[in-house]
């Protein structure tokens, strides 16, 4: 097996935990895994990414452009930023909700999230858009967007892991009192994914 996956978003959105859940599931299946991620100053509201490489063949923790099977984006603009890494015919799972940067709020830069979604529609063969606002409303929390997106990713069949594998990883990593919420989050996109 060989899978290259990129998780991307804005510092504080929970990309690192999502990356850890995939790694836990891969380890349980004895799949070698290497990752590289953004840690440090950029976590304070900056763009963050994790590269994950599953399988025997990977030496480098970083993925080359055009060689990513799956991008899981926590934010539309960040999906577009990472799009050059996607392979021909690759899959993008993206949250529709934008995180507006302070620079745009105070008029120092411009950002139109709808344009990003349009761009993704035009240039991605397999695009899954997740309505994060509706998910948060129905789940009663906006804190599990990462697990909602993982659920959508696993059902795209591009993650290289099964929903069962991920469930086990969530059970292992998530504290008991948040388990039910996370399980519902993992399942949420089953009936709510938008292609």
């Amino acid at each position: 097996m060989r899978k290259n996956i990129i998780l991307c978003g804005v510092g504080g959105q929970g990309t690192i935990l999502a990356s850890r859940l995939i790694a836990t599931a891969a380890m349980a299946g004895n799949i070698p895994i290497k990752t590289a991620e953004t840690i440090g100053m950029a976590q304070r509201g900056g763009s963050v990414f994790s590269h994950l490489r599953l399988g025997e063949e990977a030496n480098s923790p970083l993925i080359a452009k055009g060689e990513t099977d799956l991008i899981i984006a926590f934010e539309p603009g960040e999906a577009v930023r990472q799009l050059p890494f996607l392979k021909k015919g690759g899959t993008v799972v993206v949250s529709r909700r934008a995180v507006m940067p302070v620079s745009a709020m105070i008029g120092k830069s411009s950002y139109d999230p709808e344009q990003m979604i349009d761009y993704l529609r035009e240039h991605t063969e397999h695009l899954i858009i997740v309505d994060a606002d509706r998910a948060a409303q129905e789940l009663g929390s906006s804190k599990t967007l990462n697990v909602v997106l993982l659920g959508a990713a696993v059902r795209s069949k591009e993650l290289g892991l099964s929903e069962e594998d991920l469930k086990k990883a969530v059970k292992e990593r998530v504290p008991e009192r948040f388990l039910d919420l996370n399980m519902r989050s993992l399942a949420w996109s089953r009936d709510n994914g938008e292609e």
Binding site: I63, A64, K88
Partner: protein
């Protein structure tokens, strides 16, 4: 043995434990911090661990332990090594009795540092051998080898990793605690001819070190991690091209070769350079491409070897314009360099996607202070208090460097740890009509602000010192420091009081305020800045990441007059525009209820947060 999914720094920590480390010291700094934290977390119980107040102290503590025959590890980031350079330079002349590893995390990019300095070059300068791992799993093994090497040759050694190894993750086979090597320290044995550095000892040991390092070139040529990778696709024809590489770039190279016809040498110990191995590598080659990050260390070494042995091999790399002079390597940089070097694309495992048209304007996301960060309130208060006056705001290293961002724009200079105080003093001596401010964090104050403050006070400076005390070392992940009253070993200890330190130096004006009390803060700054000499204001309010949020504020949209003041002047990530695109709104998932926006709203349209009640002194004194 068992398998764990580990961060590079965690693997290094577990490797040090497996090597029988007895004492670990260090100062936090990205990307090195998790090494010491992991040792503290996974301590089998017999390892002494401390966060030192700075790298110099950490280096000296580790040296003392190594003098007794203990195995010691000291951890820091590359710029921290500059602080520790004084003891290290001399320590190499003295040597150690146990094993001593100096872990330095270099940061190509740089991703979170001031410089792109290369500890491999520092190794050459200080004559200290350098180990340079290429992957997480290898780092686990290599740090154990580094300890053995240090103990055998009685010298401190550098273990130099870079961000992609430090912060990469990998599944690693590690030892169980029962399998760890146990090192028993003999104890310090008095011998002034060995431990007391005098010119006579220095000149004698200098010669010995040079002789030893020359011998180590041969020893390290046999070190299996210095290696020539079998030729890839040369077939029966002799290979005419070679790539010399190191660190994570070795991994980028392996993944980018794709059957292209080159011989690869990986250098694991750039100093002392494995010369014999290099000669074997260079045999019959016409050209070599050096793929490395930071300084052209391998490139220079190969040019030297070619000159020394009269070899006609063209050495390419940074100095010939074939590789970028600065910044981090990526798969793309390495791949395209190999393509240019070999004239071949190789066989790609993926069909390249079609070229994408330029995307719409991407969001610009420089890092910003968190919503509710007390530093925002401190900066805003000083800015408002000094409005209209000629000022300079000298910043320092920590989260509060982010005070430079719009709209606060409160960081005119930033150089290195503690430098803001000296810079404010220096500007003031030349421009007496400028109101000079130095901002320093609590951990940075203890690390290197105290001596600078004494200097300013003694030399009759006129400036205001602002200590931003959020009761933690926030930027690197909340390490304790002398002001927090606890240690990394979990002991509760007496707090060092910043106020008492400042008063003991002799400062007459030392005021403490809660920055989230806006009016009190402005008034205190105005009062303090008007006094002569060196005066200090301590803004004390805990980092939002270590304190519980107090609900959150909300905007009454009927009262909001859409003046935009809160959004425009504070730049808080929780303050956004409402659906109408004009009025203010608050993102409840980010807001901590700090109330700063409530206090500056001209029509009192924001409410719901809870003001702190912890301020002591200041306007209420």
């Amino acid at each position: 043995m068992h398998k764990e999914f580990l961060m590079g720094n965690e693997a290094i920590a577990l490797g040090a434990l497996a090597a029988g480390v007895n004492l670990v010291s260090g100062y936090p700094g990205t990307p090195s911090t998790e090494v010491l934290e992991t040792i503290a977390k996974r301590n089998p119980g017999n390892v002494y661990v401390e966060w030192s107040i700075n790298e110099k102290a950490g280096m000296e503590v580790a040296a003392g332990a190594a003098y007794t025959g203990a195995r010691a590890l000291v951890t820091m980031k590359q710029v921290g090594l500059n602080v520790a350079a004084d003891p290290l330079m001399s320590l190499e002349y003295i040597g150690v009795k146990g094993g001593m590893v100096v872990l330095v995390a270099d940061d190509p990019g740089p991703i979170s540092s001031q410089t792109e300095q290369d500890t491999r070059t520092f190794g050459m300068f200080s004559k200290v051998p350098v180990f340079d791992p290429s992957s997480v799993a290898e780092a686990y093994e290599m740090i154990q080898e580094a300890f053995d090497f240090s103990a055998r040759y009685k010298t401190p050694v550098f273990f130099r990793a870079t961000t992609r190894v430090d912060h990469g993750y990998e599944d690693v086979e590690v030892k169980d605690p029962g399998e760890y090597y146990v090192n028993k320290a003999e104890g310090f044995v008095k011998d002034p001819s060995r431990w007391v550095i005098f010119p006579r000892l220095s000149v004698k040991n200098h010669a010995l070190i040079e002789k030893r390092n020359a011998e180590l070139k041969d020893v390290l040529s046999e070190y299996p991690r210095n290696q020539i990778v079998p030729e890839n696709g040369c077939g029966n024809a002799p290979c005419r091209r070679g790539i010399a590489t190191q660190g994570v770039s070795f991994m980028y190279t392996l993944d980018s070769l794709r059957g292209r016809n080159v011989r690869v040498m990986r250098v694991a110990t750039p100093f002392p350079f494995p010369e014999k191995l290099a000669l074997e590598f260079l045999k019959d080659l016409d050209e070599v491409l050096c793929i490395e990050e930071l300084d052209p260390v391998i490139e220079r070494a190969l040019v030297f070897v070619c000159g020394k042995y009269g070899l006609q091999v063209k050495i390419r790399g940074k100095m010939t314009g074939d590789m970028p002079l600065s910044g981090e390597n990526s798969m793309e940089i390495v791949d395209s360099a190999i393509t240019a070097f070999t004239g071949s694309e190789g066989e790609r495992p993926y069909t390249m996607p079609d070229e994408l048209p330029a995307p719409p304007a991407l969001p610009v996301r420089p890092p910003v202070l968190c919503a509710g960060c007390p530093h925002r309130a401190s900066f805003y208060a000083v800015k408002m208090a000094m409005k209209g006056q000629k000022t300079i705001y000298c910043g320092d290293i920590g989260c509060y460097t982010l005070g430079n961002a719009a709209p606060l724009d409160m960081c005119d200079t930033c150089l290195c740890m503690g430098a803001g105080i000296g810079i404010a003093q220096g500007v003031g001596h030349i421009e007496p009509d400028t109101k000079c401010f130095a901002f320093v964090g609590d951990s940075t104050f203890f690390a290197s602000g105290i001596t600078e403050t004494i200097n300013a006070f003694y030399n009759q400076a006129d400036m205001t010192l602002i200590v931003l005390d959020n009761s933690t070392t926030a930027m690197t992940g909340h390490q304790p420091h002398p002001g927090t009253g606890r240690t990394v070993m979990g002991q509760i200890v007496e707090k060092v009081s910043i106020e008492k330190v400042l008063r003991a130096i002799g400062l007459k004006v030392v005021e403490t305020v809660d920055p989230l009390d806006y009016e009190c803060s402005v008034e205190t700054i105005r009062r303090a800045a008007a006094e002569p000499g060196v005066k200090a204001v301590i803004f004390r309010s805990p980092c939002i990441a270590i304190s519980k949020p107090k609900g959150h504020s909300h905007v009454d949209s009927d009262k909001c007059i859409a003046c935009g003041k809160c959004i425009r002047e504070l730049g808080c990530p929780a303050l956004v525009k409402a659906a109408d695109g004009k009025k203010a709104a608050i993102d409840p998932s980010l807001c901590t209820g700090c109330t700063l926006c409530e206090q500056i709203c001209p029509v009192k349209a924001i409410s719901g947060g809870e003001k702190n009640d912890t301020a002591k002194g200041g306007c209420h004194a």
